[in-house]
């Protein structure tokens, strides 16, 4: 075969360059927009999921009214001061269905103070005896607990002096490692054990611009692991009944406010994309129809020379599909690159939890974008293509 329908379609694309470019730019724009939105959406979801995994808890108990503060703290790394009685820990431990509990204390470094080498950073104090947030990572990576004077940082924490130390409230601490990135505020958080916190607090009175105060008998949150098969709602109900000043938050519900806002925003964007996609399909269809109609005689000649209706149909649909496919490929790459370049803007300036999706997710999104563009091209072109392929050749020659 000298001229496959693909070859013919390619020649026609080249021959109708202006129109092909119009369709190309249209599909490219919509693909780039679609992909970037999907990557942000997927990256935000992945980040929140990773953050929840990092916590390692089924349930979180926080002081009443502090749900938003805790979400902001964990999600955006914005320090928070929330306190509740430490004896809640024993009460929750005693509840039916609870496997283990671990307290956390939330602190912050001072703002631009000479005694703190990191400014206004979220500090999480954990109990090494019960912790299941940092300890599993320590066991796996260091093979030991943190020693007094040692801290571990989130993925974005580094030693300002590049000497492996961080100064907090006048105390020099060793940064012994960084946790894997989650894309949440936990990446900008410093974790250390209770003993270290008490040491810092004690010496801060003389060494720091302002002392670190850890209220006696108070904690910020309680992380709960449930026994297998236990309904989380049962334990939540017990917390509501027994601890009136505390609120249980199941981890799937954590970040719920933010997730609702994000979903609302993304929903709006997706509606916009859907509309833009329909408009682009109409535009591509019109561009293609005009181009195809001008070539009715050409198609009729092909039929006269021995082309089947199917060949004509294929070559017409291939023409638009090739343009759409290449535009979707290029548009998707532009979308990916745009988000890749500006990802620090999301986590930095916008304080959005964002973790660049995995290669598999990116590939899936890429294929989805490609498939959507091809379907759009097919839908936009199938009617005029069928109409032209069904026209009697002699009738086509008259036009």
């Amino acid at each position: 075969m000298t001229m496959s329908f693909i070859n013919l379609a390619l020649k026609n694309i080249k021959g109708n360059l202006v129109r092909s470019m119009m369709a190309f730019i249209c599909v490219l724009g919509i693909s780039a927009f679609f992909i970037s939105t999907m990557v942000v959406s997927s990256g935000t979801r992945a980040s929140m999921q990773k953050g929840l995994q990092r916590l390692g808890a089924d349930l979180l108990v926080v002081p009443y009214g502090a749900q938003t503060d805790i979400e902001t703290a964990l999600l955006m790394g914005k320090p928070s001061h929330i306190w509740m009685p430490q004896d809640y820990l024993d009460k929750i431990s005693a509840m039916q269905g609870v496997a283990s509990v671990s307290p956390q204390i939330y602190l912050q470094s001072l703002y631009q103070a000479s005694c703190c080498s990191v400014s206004e950073t979220f500090l999480v104090v954990y109990d090494p005896k019960t912790d299941f947030t940092v300890t599993p990572w320590l066991q796996q990576n260091l093979g030991r607990e943190l020693a007094p004077g040692e801290v571990v940082g989130g993925a974005d924490i580094f030693s300002p002096g590049n000497n492996g130390t961080i100064e907090l409230y006048g105390t020099t601490l060793n940064l012994v490692g960084n946790l894997e990135p989650t894309g949440t505020g936990m990446d900008q958080t410093i974790f250390f054990a209770n003993d270290t916190a008490q040491e810092i607090a004690a010496s801060s009175v003389t060494k720091a611009v302002s002392p670190l105060v850890i209220p006696q008998g108070k904690i910020s949150s309680i992380l709960i692991k449930l026994k297998p098969g236990v309904d989380v709602r049962t334990v939540m109900a017990q917390v509501y009944l027994d601890l009136p000043d505390a609120v249980p938050v199941s981890t799937p519900q954590l970040f719920g406010t933010f997730r609702d806002q994000m979903l609302g925003l993304l929903g709006g964007v997706m509606v916009f994309i859907a509309l833009a996609w329909v408009l682009s399909a109409i535009l591509v269809g019109l561009v293609f129809s005009m181009s195809a109609n001008e070539r009715r005689r050409q198609m009729a000649v092909l039929r006269a020379l021995g082309a089947t209706r199917w060949y004509v149909l294929k070559s017409l649909i291939a023409e638009c599909s090739l343009v759409a496919a290449v535009a979707a490929m290029v548009g998707s790459v532009i979308g990916f690159l745009g988000i890749f370049i500006f990802q620090s803007y999301f986590s930095g300036t916008l304080k959005l939890p964002f973790l660049f999706p995995s290669a598999v997710s990116l590939l899936a999104l890429y294929l989805l974008s490609l498939a959507l563009s091809l379907v759009t091209a097919a839908v936009a072109t199938v009617y005029p293509a069928i109409k032209i392929s069904q026209t009697e050749p002699a009738m086509g020659m008259r036009e």
Binding site: M1, N12, V301, L305, Y311
Partner: protein
């Protein structure tokens, strides 16, 4: 070779009225005949040619090519028959503008089982035959009307068809080009090709073995 039995083609116009460019035509063309179809504009010559090739469906009647009832064939069979048996020379410019002369000439081989190598070899030979062997890479817009007609003639020959249907192949051409094209047709006829050609020009009658005349949709034999 080609038979039209009581063939009629009518068109319904927008206003509801109808026209019948071909009315109850009976025609039998034998293998190797060179039939010239003459008549005034609008007399139905091109419609008859299109009917003979299966490019329009008759309103009534039967058309056979090489004993095959054209409208009993599937689209694929009909297309295959056209590709392998019939060569076309159209009245209007029919070259694909995005293909060069060689590609245009080889195009019909796409619809047969001809290999690419053989197709290009035949296309080159056919273009040499019509005097365009040095314009293989040119595009249609770079050719004169006469050159384009010659490419179309070369294209019609690529699959070595048994039948050539030509619709005013020499219209709008100068005398010399007209003569060149008619000489090629004469040679093809001499080689045994069956030719049905529509023309306005009475001067071309000597080339034909038989002359037919269309008048208001009816076909008459001219002696």
């Amino acid at each position: 070779m080609i038979s039209l039995n009581n063939v009629t083609r009518s068109y319904i116009l927008d206003g509801g009225s109808s026209i019948t460019p071909v009315s109850h035509v009976n025609l039998h063309i034998n293998r190797g005949e060179f039939v010239l179809l003459v008549g005034r504009s609008g007399s139905g010559k091109t419609s008859l040619l299109n009917l003979a090739a299966g490019l329009i469906k008759p309103t009534s009647g039967k058309i056979t090519i090489k004993d095959a009832d054209l409208w009993q064939l599937t689209d694929r069979q009909q297309s295959a028959l056209r590709a392998s048996t019939i060569g076309f020379v159209f009245q209007f410019p029919s070259l694909i503008p995005t293909l060069n002369v060689l590609q245009n000439t080889a195009l019909p081989s796409t619809f047969t089982r001809l290999s690419k190598y053989v197709a290009l070899e035949r296309a080159t030979a056919a273009l040499n035959k019509v005097g365009l062997g040095k314009r293989l890479g040119s595009f249609p817009k770079q050719l004169s009307a006469g050159e384009q007609k010659r490419v179309v003639l070369a294209r019609a020959l690529i699959n070595e068809p048994e039948i050539l249907l030509a619709d005013e192949p020499t219209s709008d051409l100068d005398e010399s080009t007209e003569h060149d094209i008619m000489e090629v047709l004469k040679e093809l006829h001499g080689d045994g090709m069956t030719i049905l050609m529509v023309t306005h020009s009475a001067e071309l009658m000597p080339y034909a073995s038989r002359v037919l005349k269309m008048e208001e949709g009816n076909l008459f034999e001219c002696n």
